[in-house]
Structure formats: structure tokens, C-alpha cells
């Protein structure tokens, strides 16, 4: 997988001017809240149109404002995990997971939903309603739903922020295992250093709407390294946001 992102845009008073490239594996967009990470993710997914920008995944140009290319979100084939999961409350678990499998014949669809639920450890959850699930279960359903249409890249927007600490660590490891099993590249937005450490192979550090540095997690987060000052294990000190 290769991902090439360049985005320059303005939302109200906030200016985002970010560019990075990500290799195979799990990449983390890391930085304090309000640094523009989620906005970057939305632009990649096609949910927000930036004023300027270019997004290329595996050689396919999804967005190139200069060339007037703007693939609609539905044609980008990117999975998206929303912060609060956004499971459809009027559909059961099977209906949620199958939502991106429209056009697939019914028997195959049922089989695929079963496979996906097994993949995230939720066998026999087909008929359950999202409202009756725990936070962790909801997230797994959301993962299965996002993976169903076989996306070329999975975007995760603060996927653990809505969860308890205890369950968070477990889901982190599960997500990593899921990545190994499916091979789907992931781009993760987080402000939590622990998440970066445990998950990401590559880190892109954000600050105030721009990328300050990027590199392999091991190098960038090595406490003994002579990396930029202020890079503490406690993450970034809160900065005043616009």
C-alpha cells in the first residue's frame, strides 16, 4: 500500500496544511486535539472537500483539486471507523455489517456477514440491536461493517476514545491481530501515545494544522533518541485551540 496525502484547506479560523506519505502497515496521525488530524481523515474519505489537495492510494488518484478529480466517498473504497461507531440504530447487527454488501446475492451476503462477525469475535450476534451492545461490541460490529466491502485502506478516527481504559487495551491488541489477519492497511487518528506505541508502524505528527515530522514509530518514539523536544511519553501538552 502506498498513501500520498497533501491537503490545504480552511474551516472557519482553522488552517490545515498537511502533507505526508505512508507506507504499508498501520500509520498513526498523532497530535493534540484540534490539530487537524480528523479533518485530514475526512478529506481522505471524501466526506469533506478541501480547498486544495491530492490524495493517492496505491496509485489511484482519489482527489486532485488541481486536476478537478474528486471521487465521491462511495467510490473511494475506503473503510471508515467513526468515533462513536455510527451503527445504524434501525438495523440489527447483520443488517449493519451487510450494509456495504448491496448487490451481493443473498446467500453469499449471509455467509460473508457470518465470516466477518467470526473475524471480530461476535459469532451469533446477527439479530442483536446496536443499542443493546456494549461499547466494545459496538466497535467490533463497526469494524466488521467497515471491512465488509474489502476497502483498500481502513481509516480510524479516534477509535478508542469512547471506550473504557480496560477494554481499550484489549481492543488495541485485537485490532493489531485483525490487521495481521486481513492485511488491510490502516490509518489511525489518535492523541494517545500508548495507542501509537502499541499499534502503529509509522507515525505522522501533527501540530496546529500541519505535519511536524513523520517516520517509523520505533525511531520517532524512542525515548533515548534525540528527537524533538517536548516529545514526552505523556503525549503533547494541551495547546490552546482555535
Amino acid at each position: 500500500m502506498s498513501l500520498e496525502v497533501r491537503i490545504r484547506t480552511r474551516v472557519g479560523d482553522f488552517h490545515l496544511d498537511a502533507a505526508f506519505q505512508a507506507p504499508e502497515g498501520i500509520t498513526a496521525l498523532f497530535g493534540p486535539s484540534g490539530a487537524g488530524k480528523s479533518l485530514t481523515l475526512r478529506c481522505i474519505a471524501g466526506l469533506t472537500l478541501p480547498a486544495h489537495g491530492r490524495v493517492v492510494v496505491n496509485g489511484s488518484v482519489l482527489l486532485d483539486r488541481a486536476a478537478r478529480i474528486d471521487l465521491p466517498a462511495r467510490e473511494r473504497r475506503l473503510g471508515y471507523l467513526f468515533q462513536h461507531h455510527a451503527l445504524f440504530p434501525h438495523l440489527d447487527v447483520a443488517g449493519n455489517v451487510a450494509f456495504g454488501l448491496h448487490g451481493m446475492p443473498r446467500p453469499q451476503r449471509i455467509e460473508r456477514v457470518r465470516e466477518l462477525l467470526a473475524l471480530v469475535g461476535l459469532e451469533d450476534f446477527e439479530g442483536r440491536r446496536p443499542g443493546g451492545l456494549s461499547g466494545g461490541e459496538q466497535q467490533r460490529v463497526a469494524l466488521a461493517r467497515a471491512l465488509a466491502p474489502e476497502p483498500r485502506l481502513l481509516l480510524l478516527d479516534e477509535p478508542f476514545s469512547a471506550l473504557d481504559m480496560e477494554i481499550r487495551i484489549r481492543l488495541l491488541d485485537e485490532l493489531k491481530a485483525l490487521h495481521r489477519r486481513t492485511g488491510v492497511p490502516m490509518l489511525l487518528v489518535t492523541h494517545d501515545l500508548e495507542e501509537v506505541r502499541r499499534l502503529a508502524h509509522w507515525v505522522v505528527r501533527y501540530r496546529k494544522g500541519s505535519v511536524v515530522e513523520e517516520g517509523p514509530t520505533a525511531t520517532l518514539l524512542d525515548p533515548s533518541g534525540k528527537d524533538g523536544p517536548g516529545f514526552s511519553p505523556w503525549g503533547w501538552p494541551e495547546e490552546p485551540t482555535a
Partner: protein, 222 residues
């Protein structure tokens, strides 16, 4: 007496049913536009759609006459197309009821759509669904309370339509004499017993609508 009962009330129900159906078909896309899109002339569209709600019914009827009357543009096209005239027909009664019901439907449905978190629609987009499919399988099912409230209010308004109907459809027994007009007619002709009965039936129906709305409203959001 039985003839009297068999005529205006079923006619009213038929007229209101068709008018509400038309209002639903045109009102849902309008409500969605107003709730989800920003475009030039949005406020103007909103005002035009909602205007019949605040206009005196006779003013509404007058405007309708200007449009669908024999000298009106639609009226003339209709006649040239060999469909006869519109005024003083059941079609005119449906039209009056439709225009009266539409704003109630649009307003309630728009409120329903606005209550739906747009993240659900975004999620559907990332899952490869087109906009119409999202509207039909996500937005409408999630906004059903608002839509149902709109249908109930629109239907109630359509059943009760009087002023505009009288002006464009007239008061032809068995043809355009709806229940609300028949009550007026009966009172004028001193047939109070008939007026009583029809008034009672309409009141019961209106009460039923209110009961439905209360129940739906109590269900809370999901």
C-alpha cells in the same frame, strides 16, 4: 340520511387520502432539501412551501383559481390536453387539500430529518451507497416519527379543508361536497341533525389523529 352519510364523508376520505399521498411524495424530497442542503433560494423555497399554512384559506383558494381556473395557465394546458376543466371537480378538491396539507408534512418531516445525525449518512456513503439509497434506507427510517407526524397532521388538515376547496371545487353534492362543506351546507339548510352527526364523526377522526401523535411522540428518540 344514509345517502347523506355515504356521500360527503367517503368523498372527504378519498380526497384527503390522495392529497396526503401527493403531499408525501412531493413533501419528503422538499423536506430533505430544506434539512440537508444549502443552496441559493433555500429560504424562499421554505417560505413558498409554508405559506399556505398562514394564508387565509380564501386567499389560497383565490390564487389556486388564478392558476387552475379556465383562464389560468395550468387550467388552459389541462383543457388543451383534453382533460376538461379542473375547477368544480374532485380534482380541484384534491388540489386544494394537497396545497393545504403540504406545509404540515414538510415542516414535520424536515424536523424529523434534522434530528437524524448526519454521521449515519456519512457512514453509508463510505460503505458505497448512493444518495437515493441512503435517503431511502437510512434517513427516512431514522426520521419516521417526524414523517408520520407530518402525514397525520397533513391528513387532518386535508380532511378539514374548507375555504380553498369551496372556492376551487365548489359545493356539488356527490362530487365536490366534502364533509366539512356538507356541515356548512347542512347548517345553512337547517338540517342540524346531519350537521351534528358529521361534526361528531370528524371530531372523532381528529381525536384519533391526536392520539396517534401523542403515542408516537411518547416513544422518544432512538
Amino acid at each position: 340520511m344514509s345517502e347523506f352519510l355515504s356521500s360527503p364523508l367517503p368523498l372527504s376520505l378519498r380526497v384527503a387520502f390522495v392529497a396526503t399521498l401527493l403531499a408525501l411524495v412531493t413533501g419528503l424530497p422538499l423536506a430533505w432539501l430544506l434539512a440537508r442542503r444549502s443552496f441559493r433560494g433555500r429560504d424562499l423555497l421554505s417560505v413558498v412551501v409554508l405559506l399556505p399554512m398562514v394564508l387565509p384559506p380564501t386567499v389560497l383558494g383565490y390564487y389556486l383559481l388564478l392558476v387552475v381556473g379556465r383562464e389560468g395557465m395550468v387550467g388552459r394546458i389541462w383543457e388543451m390536453a383534453g382533460l376538461g376543466r379542473i375547477v368544480f371537480t374532485p380534482t380541484a378538491a384534491v388540489l386544494a387539500a394537497f396545497v393545504a396539507a403540504l406545509p404540515f408534512l414538510v415542516r414535520a418531516a424536515q424536523g424529523g430529518f434534522e434530528q437524524v445525525d448526519p454521521t449515519y449518512e456519512e457512514a453509508a456513503r463510505t460503505l458505497g451507497r448512493g444518495e437515493f439509497s441512503i435517503f431511502a434506507t437510512v434517513t427516512v427510517p431514522l426520521a419516521w416519527r417526524g414523517i408520520l407526524a407530518g402525514v397525520a397532521l397533513g391528513f387532518a388538515r386535508a380532511i378539514g379543508e374548507f375555504g380553498a376547496t369551496l372556492m376551487v371545487a365548489g359545493n356539488i353534492p356527490g362530487r365536490t361536497q366534502t364533509a366539512s362543506i356538507a356541515i356548512y351546507d347542512a347548517v345553512q339548510a337547517d338540517r342540524l341533525e346531519e350537521a351534528h352527526l358529521l361534526a361528531l364523526l370528524l371530531s372523532l377522526m381528529a381525536g384519533g389523529v391526536l392520539l396517534l401523535l401523542t403515542r408516537v411522540g411518547r416513544g422518544g428518540r432512538w
